[in-house]
Amino acid sequence: MTIGGFIIKNALRNKRRALLSILSVAVSLFLLVTLLVLLRELTTPMQDADAAMRIAVRNRVSLANTLPYRQRAVIERIPGVAAITPFTFFGGKFRNEDIPSFAQFAMDPVQLTNVFGEAKLPLDQLNNWIADRSSCIIGIETAKRYDFKIGDKIKLVGTVWPADLELTIKGIYKGTPDDRNVLFHHDYMDEACGRLGIVGTWWVRAKSLEEVPLVVERINKEFKNTSAEVLAETERSFVLGFISMWGNIKILIGSISTVVVFTLILVSGSTMSMAIRERFRELAVLKALGFRRHELFAFILAESFGFAMLGALVGVGGAWLLYTNINITAATKGMFVAFELTPRIMAIGFGVASLLGVVASIMPSISMARMSVVQGLKTLD
């Protein structure tokens, strides 16, 4: 019998325990990677190629404050500005959903391709949308979820804005990091609300990457000490600002992950010790046969490391299979979009597992090393 065979035979002689150990490691690692993915989803801004060129302009007081429409002409004249569109969150209710799974924004349809170039849709659909003031385009995810087709109507009941809108779908786009939004004519909303002359935010595209910081500065300076001071910032810092509002929830999820790892090490470590304690007599026999201490160490380590790795394979692999195969957007009613198990998170999962494998073998190894052969042979338990 080879050494490897010996280790495997030993590990599997109590099949039930082996299975339970592997499963408990698997469950804990599944949970750990899920938490890490959740944390990533909450804290990492979605990136796309165009984002670096885009600038978000909001009211300096806060995002909830509006901006006057007259600012558009001023921003258009600022050097370095390639395109600008108003972008106003409508926040309407759809059917009986209090918080619909899709957001609705009013914008200037002509500027869609100039400012949000990553949104792709057939040219005829785009032109149909531009031509019809009471129409909208929707993201492909929303189209799938509600089984919307071109020509269908969406009725939105205003909560933030004092108007109800009925929009005809003229196009379906895809290619943005979150293909769910409903986009419609700002003009149409203005008219329905009684020409309030205000917008939520401005989104600007700079002419080149080098000009982005300059444009940001120019826009901020332009409206300083006016009745509607603005905060222009790159799309990235705009999104990061959102994330910082989460506050302590991030720390909370981080601490839970730590507790999970700690519990995992504790429980699996004790199971390993239990398995070794049962075998004290045999280990003593091995010692008597002339096996050296470090060889016995290796037996214990290999067994516990093997269990931990198998557990990681089942837990992390299971999480990977689950999150790549289910439609997370639909399952969480639009709360999460990407929920991606990145290679980095996988590496963390396996890293924790190998650490666990090593730590779990330390305690039994120490007691094994301490025991004398005679004492070991006498053990009954």
């Binding site: 339970l20 469950v27 804990s28 404050n65 506050g247 504790l266 429980v267 709360m335």
Partner: protein, 387 residues
Amino acid sequence: MALPLKYNFHNVIVRWRSTLATILGIGMVVAVYVLLQALAVGLEQNSANTGDERNYLIVRKGATSESVSQVTREQFRYLQYMDEIAKDEEGKAVLSADTMVLVSLPRKEGNGEANVLVRGVMEKGKELRPQVRLVAGRWFVPGNREVVVSRRLAARFQNFQIGEQFHVPGADLKVVGWLDGGKSAFDSEVWMDTDEARNIFGRENYTSVLVRPVDEVAASKLKGRLESSKQIAARLQRETEYYREQTKTAGPIRILGNLLATIMSVGAVFAAMNTMYATVGSRTREVGTLRVLGFHRHSILLGFLLEGAILSFIGGVLGCLLALPLHGYATGTLGFDTFSEIVFEFRLTPELLARGILFAVIIGLVGSLLPAWRASRVPVISALKSV
């Protein structure tokens, strides 16, 4: 039916080394469960604590929350002279037109910015909300650019100490006092004069109006009048009800807590099972002896189940003890109802602790069911022969 109770109970203590890890493991699961639920409870209590039964909130028709509502000055003038609204000794109507503005302000320790809810109130606004007390400094003087901030927010945002000033576009606001909302939603607010707030933030309209009707009959009359009136077209809701419905933030936390607890409990069941199998396995001879002494199979089964329950009960109590120091600890996050920073506390209620312990005992029972069944099936002769 006689149970080997003493035997099982002593086992937990005598073999503490092998049971300790399981107990700790279950303890951790319970601690995480209890803490997350305590967050949700804290948030819900915050909303439930807010408001006065006698008050009614008036918002624009169709507005789902105060922050998206608008009440024009003209509408307010109509309201002021309605007979249904209570009057004070001087004959003034007891109502306050509030102006709510979300202001993005820097957090302490460079933790980025967060939205803070600034509420402009009228003189009566303070009387209408007796749960809001001034705990330091003085109230703002109408017409001055002064604010009173919540003591809890003061711990989280820059320049919120009394005497300090913070900048908002177009003005510097001076902090002249601290308020305490008595663990209500007002703990997450900054208060100032309503017309001053409208001026500084360029609001033509008020946000909402809080009124106190003469009595319940007047309240329902007022409701009918407002909802049918063309000039006002507003919605009337009891203040306490309005806040009780603000549960958009607590919901997801509760779901996260339940989800985590479910997954972790599966892991804990495996661990408990492992421990119990090992205990049963190493005690085959003892089980045999018990059988010879006359204990029935069922007694053995129940005895071991009980042992698992005792084990996990200790774990559950331990978990609660681990979580308990966080009771009353204030934390904050983005509130989905107001889109602003809300401050709330972990609330570990007795009911919640009981649920945590019950949860632990269920884990223990499920985990020890199979091992206990196995123990009860051990043939007496072979059990006694085994080493």
